[in-house]
C-alpha cells in the first residue's frame, strides 16, 4: 500500500514536470529527445557541482578567515 502511494506520488511529480516543460503535448519521439537532452544537461550540472564546489568553498573559507582572524604569520 505504501509502495503504491510512493509510486503514485512519483508519477504525479513526473506529470508536473511534463506539464511545466510542455513535453506533455509533444509526440513520443520528441519526448524521448527532450528527456535525453534534459537528463544530459542535469547530469553535467551535478558533475560540475560535485567536482568544483567543495574546492571553491574551502578556498573561499580560507580567504575570508585570513582577512577576519588574520595571524601575524601571514606576512612573513
Amino acid at each position: 500500500m505504501d509502495i503504491k502511494r510512493v509510486k503514485d506520488y512519483l508519477y504525479w511529480l513526473y506529470y508536473q514536470y511534463l506539464l511545466i516543460t510542455c513535453s506533455y503535448v509533444l509526440e513520443p519521439w520528441e519526448q524521448s529527445m527532450f528527456h535525453t537532452i534534459t537528463v544530459t544537461i542535469f547530469a553535467m550540472v551535478v558533475y560540475t557541482a560535485y567536482v568544483f564546489v567543495p574546492i571553491h568553498v574551502r578556498l573561499a573559507f580560507q580567504f575570508f578567515s585570513q582577512i577576519f582572524g588574520g595571524q601575524p604569520e601571514s606576512t612573513v
Binding site: 506539464l19 511545466i20 516543460t21 510542455c22 513535453s23 506533455y24 503535448v25 509533444l26 527532450f34
Partner: protein, 518 residues
Amino acid sequence: INHIVHNGGLYKRPFNEAFEETPMLVAVLTYVGYGVLTLFGYLRDFMRQWKIEKCQHATEREEQKDFVPLYQDFENFYNRNLYMRIRDSWNRPICSVPGAKVDMMERVSHDYNWTFTYTGRVIKDIINMGSYNYLGFAQNTGTCQEAAAKVLSQYGAGVCSTRQEIGNLDKHEELEELIARFLGVESAMAYGMGFATNSMNIPALVGKGCLILSDELNHASLVLGARLSGATIRIFKHNNMQSLEKLLKDAIVHGQPRTRRPWKKILILVEGIYSMEGSIVRLPEVIALKKKYKSYLYLDEAHSIGALGPSGRGVVEYFGLNPEDVDIMMGTFTKSFGAAGGYIGGKKELIDYLRTYSHSAVYATSMSPPVVEQIITSMKCIMGEDGTTVGKARVQQLAENTRYFRRRLKEMGFIIYGNEDSPVVPLMLYMPAKIGAFGREMLKRNIGVVVVGFPATPIIESRARFCLSAAHTKEMLDTALKKINEVGDLLQLKYSRHRLVPLLDRPFDETTYEETED
C-alpha cells in the same frame, strides 16, 4: 475595491473587480514552456521542409513556391506547431440541445490531431459550463418551444428576402416594439446576426472625420465595424477612465490630426460585460465623461442583457442609470434569449435612419420567424408579461449561482478574473500544456469547459472560461466544483496568493466577506 465614496457618489452599489497579478515564477515557467515548444516547432518545420516528414498542413502548390510565402508568419507557425497538438479541446461536436447538460460525440485521433475519427459512442449528460445559456432558455421543451413550433407551422422557416424588400413580417414589428419596451428606449431594430449588427451598423453611424474611442479588449465585431467605417480609431486602456478622459481631452483640444478642425462626432465603444475578462464596464463614469465632453456612447450588451440587473434589463439597470443616457444600446439574442440575432435600440430618429442606411437592413436576409417567436416568448417571460414569475426566478437564480460559484472558486485558491457579479468566470491556466490537459481531464470527469489561449488572449494569460446558467442547479454546481478542485490539485492550478476566510456555513444568499492574507 469599494468605489462608493470615491467617484463623486456615482456608484449606488459596490464595484468589486479584481485582476490578480501573474505570479513571477508561473510567468517564467510559462515562457520556458513556450520556448521548448518553439524550438520543437522549428525542428518540425525543418523536417517538413526537407521532406523528412510528411507535410499535413496547408502549403502553397509546387508552381507557387517562388511567390511571396503565405504561411510563414507567427500565426501560421503557432497554428501548425502549438494549436494542432491540443486541437481536440475545440470544435467538439455536440448532438443535443446545449442546455445545462449536453451530449457529445466521442472523437479519437490516431495521427496527433491532424485528423479525427468518430468512435460512434455518444458521451451523455456532460455538465455544460461553456454555453452562453445565461437564463437557461436553450431548451427543446416548454412554452418557448411550443410557440416557436406553432409559428414554424404557420410561417415556415425561411423569409427569402431582406427587410427593405418583402421580408418585413408582422412578427418583426411585434418584436421590435417589445424590445423597445423591454429596454426603456423609444425604438429598436432587430437583425439576423449579432456580429453583423455591429460590423454593419457602425459604418452607417460614423464615417471619415469622426473619432472612435474604443476599449482595448473590444470584440472583433466592434473592431471590424470601426475599421470599415473609415473613422479615426483611438484605443483606451481596458476599463480605465483616466485613459479615456485623457483621450477625450486631447480630441477636443487638438481636433483632427492635420487640419485641426473639430471632430464631426466622437463615439465611445464599450461593452457591458467583456467575455474574456469577466469585467463589467464602469458605466456611471463613462456616462459622466460622455456628458462632460459632449460625445456619443455605443454600448454593446451582448453578454450583459438578461444576465445583469434585478429584472434582467442589462448593465444600465444594474447601475441604476437612465437608459436614455446611452445613445445606442446594442445587444444580441444569442446569449440570454436562446435564439440568434442582434438588436439596436435608441431614439426614434436614429432607428429610422438605420432602417434606411444600415447595410444589414438593406442587404441581409431578415430573421427567421421561429427564431423571432423564441425571442418574443423568452422576452415576455423575463418581463413577467406571460403571467408567471419564471423569468424573475431565473434572473435571481443566475445571480445566486454567479456569487456562489465565484466565491467557492476563490476560496479554493484559483486565480479568477473579473467582477463579482458577472456570470462569465475566467480561471487562469497560464501554461500551454495545462490548456490541453485541463480540457481533457474535465471531459474525462464529464464536464465540458471552454479553454482559451492565444490569439484570443495575451500569450501567457491562457484561461478556462466558465459560463454560468440559471439552468444549473446547486447540485450540478457542487459536482462541477468538486471536479474542478480535483483537477486543480492534479494540475497544480491554485496559484492565488490571497486567502479568503471560508465561511463556516454556506448560505445561498448574498454575504459580504473580508479578504485577508494569512
